[in-house]
Structure formats: structure tokens, C-alpha cells
Amino acid sequence: MKRLLPVLFSLIAVAVQGQNDTVEVHRKPFTPRLYWDYGKTALSWSNFETKTEFGLEILLFERIQLIGEGGTATLKPEKAFQNVEYTSQGQYFRIGAGYLANLSAKDRIGIGVRYGISNFEDEGLVSIDFQSDLNDVYTSQFNRKDLNASWYEIVLNSERKVHLNRSNPESILNDIFHIGFLFRYRVLIEYTDQQPIDIYTIPGYGRTLDKRLPAINLFLKVNLF
């Protein structure tokens, strides 16, 4: 927790700094927004993972975020084990809230929290070659279903408006699309650990070896109305 303090202080400083520089505008009381994690989709070409993630955000008075996120992932990490073909797949959901502050007319930064749950299954094909003169290659399989995990996240959110109509700064088109990133700091609460071969990775969270885990998401966000 001591290591978190400088992070929290920095976040507060950024938010306050953003508030001071904010240009006063009319605040919409209710703005539904949908966002797509295009970074995960872009990485789906690899053989190691297939991920899809979307989020729905209710922005109150252009400050308070109420957020729900969901996604699916099929993970095949090469380095999970030296001699196991490992796959973990499932769905995950996050709910949370956040606070957005304007850095400028186009840029916003925010801080928030999430609570995430994942329901998934994993499977593996173990192959042990002892290079022995007396033993054949050893193989075994495992397939574990209905696994669960939960975690919470501290999230830093940065986004920028995409101006589609540069000739008319007041155009409504300039308020529809946003791009940005989420920096998440995840803290694992619990998961259904397995023995002797434990779960290696949890869809939506990441490696179980790390009980605290940073992650970055790239998103395209759309104001629905």
C-alpha cells in the first residue's frame, strides 16, 4: 500500500491541475458513451491471444463516470509453462466509477476504480521428456471448468476528442468520438486456485503469478447522444 501512495498523490495533483485549467462549459447532465478496446482486437492476429472488450459509460455532468465493461478472451501464453500447451478462456465483467477532469478543450484525464470478475476455464497438455533410457515421454491433460476470479483496479483514464469537422469547431461531430487509453493497476482479490498445476492466466486480469498487475488499454469512445 505504501507504494500506492505516490501514485494516488500524483493522480490527485493531475486532477487538480486539470480543474484549474478547465474552460467553463455547459455540462450535459447525462451522456451515455460506448467504447471499444481496439488494442485488444488489434492483437488478436497473434496466435497467443484473442480478446474482445467493450465498455458502456454513463457520464454524469461530464464529470462522474459510471462504468460497465465486459469482454471475452482466449489466452495461449507461450511462457506459461516450459512443457505445457496451456489455454485459458472465458468472459469477464467490470463495474466501477470514476471522475473526469478537463485538461483542455480537447483533452480529459480521470481517475477511477473498478471491480472485476471473471468466469473462465483452462486446459493444458503436459508433455515431459526426461531424456531417459527407461521411460517414454510422459503426457497428461487437465481441463478445469467453472473457474472464477475477482480483482479491483485503480484506473487512470486519458482521452482526447477527435475533431471530424475542423472547419467548424462547434460542430456536433466534434463531440462524438474520443480516443485514449486506460492505465489500470490491478490487485487480485481471489481466484479458484488449482493444484498441483495452478491457473496461469485469468481472462480480464492476467497472470496469477502477479498479485498486482499494471495494464494499458487503448480505446475508441463514442458519445451515443
Binding site: L11, V14, L134, N135, Y185, L213
Partner: protein, 240 residues
């Protein structure tokens, strides 16, 4: 100013990240094994008994040979006296002379035969002595050890005092056929096999609870450093 704050925030978060990459990931997996020593105690005992018996037999043959030589010497002396009598004109001694010649000849044949037996027994005794010296050195040549489950074998060319044998990772019964001097012996061990993940993220097999199930040796003794006999820490001594 904002960018500086932003950068400091980013760096702070990065400090929180950690890695747990394994070290020396390319090292091979250690296989669970046991050390086995083969003692030819039975042969040593048998050879000792045979050597003792052969020694007694040699003594007996030597005594018999000595008796026959004394008898032949007596007959030779008698023959000389008989020939003196015949030369003096007592021709009636001629039949005695013929009998004495035949008796001396029979003794000589018997003495030669016993001498051959003594020579043969002595060479056997020397061979026994050589084998006993080899056994007493503690080194036994195992021809091969076979995993009966899959018929895979390890062949050996040199005598060694302790053989390291991989246990059966596929089953809780390790069944070995040990061939020593064209003689086959069975050794069956039961144990617990458990998968585990080692520090290099390799899934491997740990074997413990090793016990002697059955065997065809004269005797087998197991020696564990710990209560729960684990592979790589267990020594088995087989006497045959």
C-alpha cells in the same frame, strides 16, 4: 507542467509493476531415480563353501597319492629282492616277480590319475579365489536393466558399485528386470507419483513413498534418508 506531472505519474505506476520471469529456463528436467547396489552375497557364501570342500578333497587326494607312492616304493623294494633271488638260481620266485611288476604298474597308473585330479581341482580352487576377490571388491557387472512396462533397457559395459535407475513416471509401480551374469532378477517397487511445477515453470514428476513390493533376489534392503522415501534420496541394496 502537466506533462511533467503526467510523466511522474506514469513512472510511479511503472515502479509498481513486477516481473517473475524464470531463470535458466532451458535446463533439462531432473528425472526421479533411485540408487541400487547389487551384492553377490549368495555366490560369495557358496564359493566359500565350495572352496572349503575342494580344499578338503585336495588334502584327501594328496594323502591317497602319498599312500600309493609309499606302497609302490615298498613293492619296488620287494621286486629288487625277488630279482636278486631269481639271479641266485631260485627260479620258483618268477611268479612273484610277475605279480609285483603288475602291482607296481597299477599303482603308477592310479598315482598318475590322482595327480591329474589334484591339478584340475587346484585350478578350480584358484578360479574360485579370483571370483571371490572380485565379489569382495563390491563391484558387480550388471548386463542390463529393463523396464518391464515398456521393454526399454539400459545396458552396462563396466562394473560399478552403485547403479542409478530411473523410476517409472507413468505408473505407481516400477518393475525392473535385472540381468547379472545371464541370470535375471525381478525388482518391483511401489511409490506415489505427483505432478508439480518447479521453479523454472516446468511441470515435472515427484516420486515418494518408495516401498519394496516384491523381488526375486535373496534379500532386498531399502535405506531412506527421510521417513517418506523420496526418489533421489533412496538407496536399495539387493543381495543375490
Amino acid at each position: 507542467m502537466k506533462s511533467v506531472l503526467f510523466a511522474s505519474l506514469f513512472l510511479s505506476l511503472l515502479i509498481l509493476s513486477s516481473c517473475d520471469e524464470c531463470n535458466d529456463c532451458d535446463l533439462k528436467i531432473t528425472e526421479p531415480r533411485i540408487s541400487v547396489t547389487f551384492i553377490n552375497a549368495d555366490s560369495l557364501f557358496t564359493l566359500t563353501q565350495l572352496s572349503d570342500s575342494l580344499g578338503l578333497m585336495l588334502d584327501s587326494l594328496q594323502n591317497e597319492s602319498d599312500t600309493l607312492e609309499s606302497h609302490r616304493d615298498f613293492l619296488s623294494d620287494s621286486l629288487i629282492n625277488v630279482e636278486i633271488g631269481i639271479d641266485s638260481g631260485n627260479v620258483s620266485l618268477q611268479p612273484f616277480k610277475d605279480q609285483l611288476v603288475l602291482a607296481i604298474k597299477d599303482d603308477s597308473v592310479l598315482i598318475a590319475s590322482i595327480s591329474n585330479e589334484i591339478t584340475g581341482a587346484d585350478s578350480v580352487l584358484q578360479m574360485y579365489s579370483g571370483i571371490m576377490d572380485l565379489i569382495n571388491s563390491g563391484s558387480v557387472l550388471v548386463d542390463h536393466i529393463t523396464n518391464v512396462h515398456n521393454d526399454l533397457s539400459i545396458n552396462f559395459d563396466d562394473s560399478i558399485s552403485s547403479y542409478t535407475i530411473p523410476l517409472n513416471i507413468h505408473d505407481t509401480l516400477s518393475w525392473f528386470e535385472v540381468s547379472i551374469a545371464d541370470q535375471s532378477y525381478d525388482l518391483q517397487l511401489t511409490h506415489s507419483n505427483t505432478e508439480f511445477v518447479d521453479g523454472r515453470r516446468n511441470v515435472s514428476i515427484e516420486i515418494s513413498g518408495i516401498e519394496i513390493f516384491t523381488h526375486s533376489f535373496d534379500s532386498v534392503a531399502i535405506d531412506c534418508n527421510q521417513e517418506n522415501c523420496k526418489a533421489n534420496e533412496t538407496v536399495i541394496t539387493c543381495s543375490f
